[in-house]
């Protein structure tokens, strides 16, 4: 038996996986590199956030929970920064970007 919190956690993690899927669909369907960056950064940010939230009830200790949150924070920082660097790099190399 799993507790109610764990059950909610599984739901959140499943929803997070759904956003990763949607982001991947965007990556394939969006027409240019910069638009694809939107799909990656936004959907993965929320997807990972939900996965981390869902894993918190399973973390077992405060330290592990903080580590999970730290992973999310670092991915936000890296994702937001790298997306801008890639966007700056492709600027002007394709129409509409």
């Amino acid at each position: 038996m799993i507790g109610a919190l764990q059950g909610l956690g599984l739901l959140a993690a499943a929803a997070g996986a759904g956003f990763f899927l949607a982001g991947t669909v965007g990556l394939i369907r969006f027409p240019d590199t910069t638009s694809r960056l939107h799909a990656l950064t936004k959907a993965d940010n929320l997807g990972l956030g939900l996965v981390v939230l869902g894993l918190l009830p399973f973390a077992g200790s405060l330290g592990a929970a903080l580590k999970l949150l730290l992973v999310w924070g670092l991915v936000l920082l890296a994702g937001g920064t790298v997306a801008q660097m890639i966007a700056a790099r492709v600027r002007g190399t394709e129409p509409g970007a």
């Binding site: 982001g23 969006f30 940010n45 956030g49 580590k67 936000l76 920082l77 801008q84 600027r91």
Partner: protein, 156 residues
């Protein structure tokens, strides 16, 4: 003292990563001190004290916008008609310091991704849908970032 605050933040980071094992703590203290020194060199404190209340509001905005941005992307990506109209929108920036913080926040907000500066000194923001009020939204975010960093609120 900016250095003390940064040292505490790096030490906190170390504790989260490595736990509070006493043997490791010696290395952690040294690493945090070194990291604080280097960060002061690379990113000198730029006046103005960080305001906790505004930081909290910015954090809540970031959470809300993360949710909105993810839902927005999922909706557009999965819609058979692919309702996007990508394009660059020039946004006048009033913030002189703390621009990197603003750009990071903006890159996580729905439908916007800062790309670089244009010749007129405006921030070029790539919008997934140029029909949305990109510049107005950026202005509000900029004011909130300025408040959080304790900068003078941009006027105009």
């Amino acid at each position: 003292m900016a250095g003390v605050g940064r040292f505490a933040a790096f030490l906190g980071l170390w504790l989260v990563l490595s736990g509070s094992d006493p043997a490791g703590l010696v290395v952690g203290l040294a690493a945090a001190a070194l990291a604080a020194r280097i960060s002061l060199r690379l990113l000198p404190p730029a006046g103005g004290a960080v305001r906790p209340g505004a930081v909290l509001r910015l954090g809540l905005l970031l959470l809300r916008d993360s949710l909105a941005a993810g839902l927005d992307i999922a909706r557009r990506a999965l819609d058979p008609r692919l309702p996007i109209r990508p394009g660059l929108v020039p946004v006048p920036l009033r913030l002189s310091s703390g621009r990197d913080a603003f750009r990071l926040v903006a890159s996580l907000q729905p439908g916007t991704l800062p790309v670089g500066m244009n010749a007129e000194g405006r921030l070029l923001v790539h919008a997934l849908d140029t029909r949305l009020p990109v510049a107005a939204e950026a202005g509000r975010t900029e004011a909130l970032v300025a408040a959080a960093l304790g900068r003078d609120a941009p006027h105009g």
